[in-house]
């Protein structure tokens, strides 16, 4: 039994410092793991939201793009069709303007796409038919003139069949 208590040996200060540093390190690591986990969760949520927004933008853009392309196609198709549109009725005014006064047509066949016209009719005389052919041949919008069968009709009239090939500009839509 000791009457005078022994002085407890003092812990060196560097051990104290090392203790606090190591404990602090462990606490720092745990807190950091916790904070980063929280931040990761928030970032993953943000990433997911961005994915959703991108998907939504994609579908919105795709729908709008489809609509615009539909308009574009319709406009292009319409210009194609309108450029190829024909005014077939032009041919009547055109033929009438070239018709000899003593020649009349009874049958008429027109293929508008190739400009082929077949006229069957009667002329007062051969001279009138000849003049009619000259009128057709002189017209620049008639590319080809062909006189087919010619026959004598009642009263000295001359029956005939004429084939014409017209320039496509005759049918141009104005």
């Amino acid at each position: 039994m000791e009457i005078i208590p022994k002085e407890t040996p003092k812990i060196p200060p560097w051990i104290d410092i090392l203790f606090y540093v190591s404990v602090g390190l462990l606490i720092f690591v745990f807190i950091s793991i916790f904070l980063i986990s929280q931040a990761m969760n928030a970032a993953e949520k943000t990433s997911l939201e961005l994915d959703n927004k991108i998907t939504s933008e994609n579908s919105k853009s795709a729908a709008l793009k489809k609509e615009i392309l539909t308009y574009k196609k319709k406009i292009n198709d319409f210009s194609g069709v309108i450029n190829g549109h024909m005014e077939t009725s032009n041919v009547f005014g055109f033929i009438e303007s070239l018709c000899h006064p003593r020649v009349w047509f009874t049958n008429f066949d027109l293929g508008a796409r190739d400009g082929a016209v077949r006229l069957t009719g009667e002329a007062q005389s051969f001279q009138d038919l000849g003049q009619q052919m000259i009128i057709f041949k002189k017209e620049s919008l008639i590319k080809k003139t062909n006189l087919g069968s010619v026959s004598m009709q009642k009263g000295g009239r001359v029956g005939f069949e004429i084939s014409l090939t017209l320039d496509p500009s005759v049918f141009v839509f104005k």
Binding site: S22, L26, V29, F30, S32, S47, K60, G84, N107
Partner: protein, 187 residues
């Protein structure tokens, strides 16, 4: 004796904390931090993509707004080139046009719908029409067909005098029988 025991306990705690710190830090914290950095980069990339997409959508909206300014013209195109052949309305239109022009419909035949030979993506609706009446009425009908908002091409026309009851040609009456091949277009 107890003092040195205290020191050794503290040393054990220091060792455990340090090793724990290093193990948790190296195996959990650092990879998590790396993942976090990667995720942040990914988010920044996605934000750029989203910005680009939003700008793209805005541009598309601007284009659509420009197109919408031409709504009446677009409506005309829709009538000229409808989404479906609209056969009943076509027949109705032809019937009305013929009677208004002074022609009588004798026959409606050779009706067909096929992929257009001239225009990709369109359908040709072809039909032949047999009508009779005066020559002037035919010209009226053609004017109506050519000017209608539904684009119509009269591909061929042929006519000849109508035979009367005795079988002879009725040239004096100026009545003719006409055969028209008409083409309209649809999607």
């Amino acid at each position: 004796m107890s003092g040195s025991k205290n020191v050794s306990n503290i040393m054990i705690i220091i060792a455990i904390c340090s090793i724990g710190g290093i193990i948790f830090g190296g195996n959990i914290l650092l990879p998590k931090y790396q993942d976090f950095q990667d995720l942040n980069k990914e988010i920044k990339g996605k934000e750029r993509v989203l910005q680009y997409k939003e700008e793209y959508y805005r541009n598309l909206q601007a284009v659509e707004t420009d197109i919408r300014k031409y709504e009446p013209e677009l409506a005309k195109i829709d009538i000229a080139l409808p989404d479906d052949p609209s056969i009943p309305s076509l027949f109705d239109f032809l019937q009305r046009s013929c009677s208004q022009s002074g022609l009588v419909i004798n026959s409606m035949g050779s009706f067909s719908i096929a992929a257009s030979s001239r225009y990709t993506g369109l359908q040709d609706v072809s039909l032949s029409l047999g009508v009779s009446g005066p020559y002037e009425s035919l010209k009226n009908l053609l004017n109506v067909l050519e000017k209608t908002s539904r684009l119509m091409d009269v591909e061929s026309i042929s006519f000849s005098p109508l035979a009367d009851e005795q079988g002879s040609k009725s040239q004096s009456k100026d009545l003719f029988g006409y055969q028209l091949a008409i083409k309209v277009y649809s999607y």
